[in-house]
Amino acid sequence: MVAIAFGFRHNDTLLHQLDARIKLAGLVAVSILTINANMSALVLAFFTALFLLALGKCSPLRCLFGMKWYLVLLACVLLTRTLTTPGDLLIESSWFPATRQGVFIGLLFAGRLLVIALFALLVTFTTRPSHIRSAVAWFLRPIPGIPHRQVATMIGLLVRFIPVILTQSAELDLALRARSIDNRRNPLRRLTFLGMPLLRRTFVTADRLASAMEARCYGLHGTTHQWQVTARDWSALGFLSLFCFLLVALP
């Protein structure tokens, strides 16, 4: 999930061209509305997410493969709900008290989390980190007491740092393999060999980045992003509103 979710891929699709504020607002709306969504709304949201991923030239199958650990987590949610919810037994067995109602509730809970994850992936895949930062600043600006530029810059850096950490981790892993360190039996020792250099490297990278930002007189009161809302964005907002209405209204 990580590599795909945070790896913005430049492309020229409709989703890449959309206003980041609309995409972020859509993500927040979907994450709120799916908290209490029913099964039919979830099915609609799931297939919409897959369709949009394909539209953004992000293979849905690759996304699901990238989310394998998250899917394991969701399987745990499903299993826990299946076994702990009282109702009609699926199999007459005392050691596996799975119930029909448990399966339904488990699917509902896991489905809600999966739909949010897919939409989140869609947004980070099709939106530049700098645009996410600007959109966050735009949304936080009216809230008093929150240093919106600072928070937005930090979120932008967070989104930017995750792929950097993962890339450095992959490079170090290859370097360790080349030196046969992965053959060591003690897992703690292997972890130390990977973890400590990785952390030191990422901190040095961050410190250098801060120095580079200082050298370029980076300030929190720099030029803000110039938003250009087109008819396409308004249409997307209309579709988003209709989609949100359906999520709430579907029986």
Binding site: L27, L73, L113, A117, V123, Q150, L158, L166, D207, Y218
Partner: protein
């Protein structure tokens, strides 16, 4: 000078928020609350950055997750996660980061005090997390402790040791510590 210092802290706090997120991707799903490395990096953030910037790093991480970015355990995101069974632990991170940072600052980074601060911070995460879990799932306190605390204690002790080692290793690399004058300049750094 202060603005210069703030920019370094801002970048390091963002890095810590990113590391907390990456720590959440390495998931060992053993129940409603999976084993992750998030709390390790929360403790590291608090010790490296202090109470205000440490808690700011956690707050930014929570905000990024709340708006839906996939930064929570396993790559999840959204308000459903924040207010789900694990929500108490996530809010506990914020309180723990502030408390651990505060103790570390007031003790002038004494090793014993820092380890004690991490133990107290870890307990604070469990107090908030287990209470939240109990309330949300409607289970008994004993059961909430069994699924939300006992399986993680040994791992947390190891994480406290790891966090202390990381902090000792990383602190001299950071411009923040050098400029604050809290640490001696590393030999050969030329500053």
């Amino acid at each position: 000078m202060n603005e210069r210092l703030d920019l370094h802290k801002l970048v390091i706090a963002s890095l810590m928020a990113a590391l907390i997120a990456v720590g959440g991707y390495l998931v060992i799903p053993i129940g409603p609350v999976p084993i992750v490395l998030q709390n390790l990096f929360v403790l590291v953030a608090a010790l490296l950055l202090g109470s205000s910037w440490g808690s700011a790093a956690v707050a930014v991480y929570l905000l990024a997750g709340a708006v839906g970015l996939p930064v929570f355990a396993g790559g999840g995101g959204g308000l459903g996660h924040l207010f789900g069974p694990r929500g108490g632990y996530l809010f506990g991170f914020l309180a723990a980061a502030w408390l651990v940072g505060k103790i570390s600052e007031s003790s002038r980074q004494q090793p014993v005090a820092e380890i004690l601060a991490m133990i107290i911070g870890g307990l604070l995460i469990y107090v908030i997390g287990v209470t939240w879990l109990k309330t949300l799932l409607g289970i008994s306190f004993g059961k909430a402790l069994a699924v939300g605390m006992y399986p993680f204690i040994i791992g947390d002790i190891v994480k406290i040791g790891a966090a202390f080692t990381i902090v000792k290793s990383v602190r001299p690399l950071l411009g923040i510590a050098r400029r604050d004058g809290r640490l001696a300049t590393p030999a050969g750094s030329g500053q």
